[in-house]
């Protein structure tokens, strides 16, 4: 008998004569305490994300590329990793074309193996979109894609993220229902709730453990 057969046989023997427990999941318990009027959702999101050192800027669908250019300049970041294939990547590229002297835009356009050293050692910042956010916990929903791969939101020390104000949801349960997560998940889905942190030494909170040291969120209020 294989290990699988042995384990399953033991478990099944222990359940002889029992019936599976009914599913009485009460969704009110995970939604009612965590629901907000639409006009308060952004405030709730900000409160939670700023409590864990996320830098948040309010902007608009037209103005954000200029804001991002200013933030990159202030931080003296020499380059930005951004996908040229996404709508926001195209918008950013257009702004860059119209304005000289801005930091270099780099694309994640080949498998990581072909440029791992550059990604790790010479890519100081990235920009990704989000699928939305969760107000109750202050979390960004990120589903990596071929255009914006997994490591884009992890390896560069500064991660800029774009969020449309209309896509801030109340709670995790609502998000799972809206996106029908039960019906299928991408290879990797993430909730990101701040820059990376640790309290492993004497419970002292330190930011920039292994992932980004800074998470900068641009909220597009008119979108």
């Amino acid at each position: 008998m294989s290990a699988k057969q042995n384990i399953l046989a033991k478990l099944r023997k222990s359940l002889v004569g029992t019936t599976p427990l009914a599913d009485n999941f009460d969704e009110a318990l995970v939604t009612e305490p965590w629901s907000y009027p639409p006009e308060q959702r952004i405030a709730q999101l900000r409160k939670q994300m700023e409590a864990v050192h996320t830098e948040i800027h309010l902007s608009t669908g037209d103005a954000w590329p200029a804001l991002l250019a200013r933030l990159l300049h202030e931080r003296q970041l020499p380059s930005l990793l951004v996908s040229p294939a996404t709508p926001h990547g195209k918008q950013l590229a257009a702004h860059w074309d119209a304005n000289a002297g801005l930091p270099t835009l780099k694309a994640y356009d080949r498998p990581v193996e072909e440029w791992k050293a550059e990604l790790f050692n010479d890519t100081p910042a990235s920009l990704t979109g989000t699928l939305g956010a969760i107000a109750s916990t202050g979390s960004l929903i990120v589903w990596p894609t071929p255009q914006e791969p997994r490591l884009m939101s992890l390896v560069p020390p500064v991660h800029f993220a774009l969020l449309k104000a209309s896509e801030v949801h109340n709670n995790f349960y609502e998000v799972q229902q809206k996106f029908a997560w039960a019906a299928g998940m991408p290879t990797n889905a993430l909730l990101i709730s701040g820059p990376s942190k640790t309290a492993d030494i004497e419970q002292v909170l330190a930011y920039g453990a292994h992932g980004p040291k800074d998470l900068v969120l641009l909220i597009l209020e008119d979108q």
Binding site: P20, S136, T137, L154, Q203, G208
Partner: protein, 484 residues
């Protein structure tokens, strides 16, 4: 920078009592634990400020875990089917040796030399670092706390905060000695040193190993929570990802994760959520540019099916590994995690370890509790830890020939003498004549109680009976009243 030595060797020479005694005398250790546990208790209390909400959520958490266990074999098969469909290879192991064999064979198939590990208590059960090191494979911990204890050849003293027994000064000396960096007690700088060393390792590693917080049967998803980003690094950068987990970690639906996640992060650290919730449902697809080419899941039994066989002990498997029971335990707070001498310390350790190593190997664990009930009160999935501890005390002294043997190594504290004394005591208390006779002689001969009554008189004065029993006094009192 020299690479750290990799063989964790904690000397576990003495027994539990001796280790506990030593720990109680270590002022620094007690200080470190006291302050950490106080802070963790406060953070949890703040995160659950609404008792009504908390209690309803705990009840839901308990119901979800109980439901999952009530159909565990079916859910495991469903999990395997869905993971396989998603391209994840699922392996089953009854023992830690089998699990290590599986991990080794995957590593060998890729001719891998370097393994980077996210936090995983199951890999601690397997002593994976040690096993791989013996085969000449470097297996480096990447969680900051785990990295620190590995560097000092120790084991974790807490399941969530592995290096909680050390203060910043101790970490500073360790980094200075082992990594050759300048001495600094500044926590930010210490973390940046760890980041530098480990970034190099994430970059180089051939295989990444992680644990699993919840395995979702419905979608074939492995969900991992963490704050540091090392878990994402370990499961995303190396070409091969091996997740190891216990067979009990499966839940039925994706939505079941919602309350469990909230219970887990609030109970563990008082956080509404961790920085990263990483949901892995498959390896890199052809059109994707990163992520592991292969994802493996090793499902480990290691005694869990034994706990599963008994409906009371089965509740042990509700555990979502938040550590709240240890944070609130007066015993754990005073002796720390290492005194237990096993992978899982504290209240949950005392009830899960006997199934893994045999009760006879941890005979003092069920008794190392004041039964104050704090662990059961804070458990987010309502495991009745105090009741299970009492049950294990019974199993500990069960006669070897009695029926209903439920666990390996039970009955190791059985003593014929003790059993005879208890039988006599039961008889004495159920026969009125014997009870009166005993009361009469015990009070009249009270001066004969020796001043040294073995272990009792180490900490107490000798138990000298009163001059008259309560029964006698009551009778005299009633007789007096009748006369008036």
């Amino acid at each position: 920078m020299s690479s750290p030595a990799l063989i964790p060797t904690v000397a576990v020479e003495e027994d539990f009592r001796a280790r506990a005694h030593t720990a109680l005398g270590d002022k620094q250790l007690r200080n470190n634990f006291r302050s950490a546990m106080d802070s963790l208790m406060t953070k949890r209390a703040v995160a659950f400020s609404d008792a009504h909400e908390r209690e309803h959520l705990r009840a839901l958490g308990n119901a979800i875990r109980a439901r999952a266990l009530s159909k565990l074999p079916d859910l495991l098969e469903r999990l395997e089917q869905n993971l396989t469909r998603n391209g994840v290879k699922v392996h089953w192991a009854e023992t830690v040796d089998e699990a290590n064999g599986i991990v080794l064979s995957i590593i060998r198939a890729h001719e891998a030399r370097q393994v980077i590990k996210g936090k995983s208590m199951v890999s601690e059960e397997m002593e994976m670092n040690h096993v791989l090191a013996e085969q000449g494979i470097e297996c480096l911990e990447s969680d900051m706390g785990e990295f620190i204890v590995q560097l000092d050849h120790e084991k974790p003293s807490h399941i969530i905060m592995p290096a909680i027994h050390k203060n910043a000064g101790q970490v500073a000396s360790l980094f200075h000695d082992k990594l050759g960096v300048e001495y600094t007690k500044d926590v930010d700088q210490l973390i940046q040193i760890g980041r530098r060393v480990l970034r190099e390792k994430f970059f180089e590693a051939d295989v990444g190993v992680s644990g699993v917080n919840f395995a979702v049967a419905e979608t074939g998803t492995l969900l991992l929570v963490e704050n540091e980003g090392n878990g994402r690094m370990s499961t995303t950068v190396p070409p091969v990802h091996i997740a190891v987990t216990g067979i009990e970690k499966v839940v039925e639906h994706m939505r079941d994760v919602v309350p469990l996640l909230s219970l887990l992060t609030r109970s563990a650290l008082g956080q509404p959520i961790t920085t990263y919730v990483n949901m892995i449902s498959g390896p890199r697809k052809p059109e994707e540019l990163d992520g592991p080419q292969e994802v493996h899941l090793v499902l480990l039994d290691n005694g869990r099916s034994q706990a599963f066989a008994d409906s009371e002990l089965r509740q042990t498997l509700n555990c979502i590994r938040c550590g709240a029971c240890m944070n609130h335990c007066p015993v754990y707070t005073r002796i720390g995690g290492h005194a237990y001498g096993e992978v899982y310390p504290g209240p949950i350790g005392k009830i899960i370890t006997p199934h893994m190593v045999g009760l006879a190997n941890v005979p003092d664990h069920p008794s190392a509790s004041s039964l104050c009930g704090a662990c059961g009160e804070v458990c987010p999935v309502k495991i009745p830890i105090p009741a299970i501890l009492r049950r294990l005390r019974e199993e500990n002294v069960k006669a070897p020939d009695s029926p209903n043997q439920v666990m390996r190594g039970q009955g190791s504290k059985y003593s014929r003498k003790e059993r005879l004394i208890w039988n006599f005591w039961a008889r004495l208390n159920t026969s009125p004549t014997l009870y009166r006779l005993f009361g009469f002689f015990a009070t009249r001969l009270r001066q004969l109680v020796p001043s040294n009554v073995g272990p009792w008189t180490q900490n107490h004065s000798a138990p000298k009976p009163a001059a008259r029993s309560l029964h006698e006094l009551a009778r005299e009192h009633l007789a007096k009243q009748d006369r008036h």
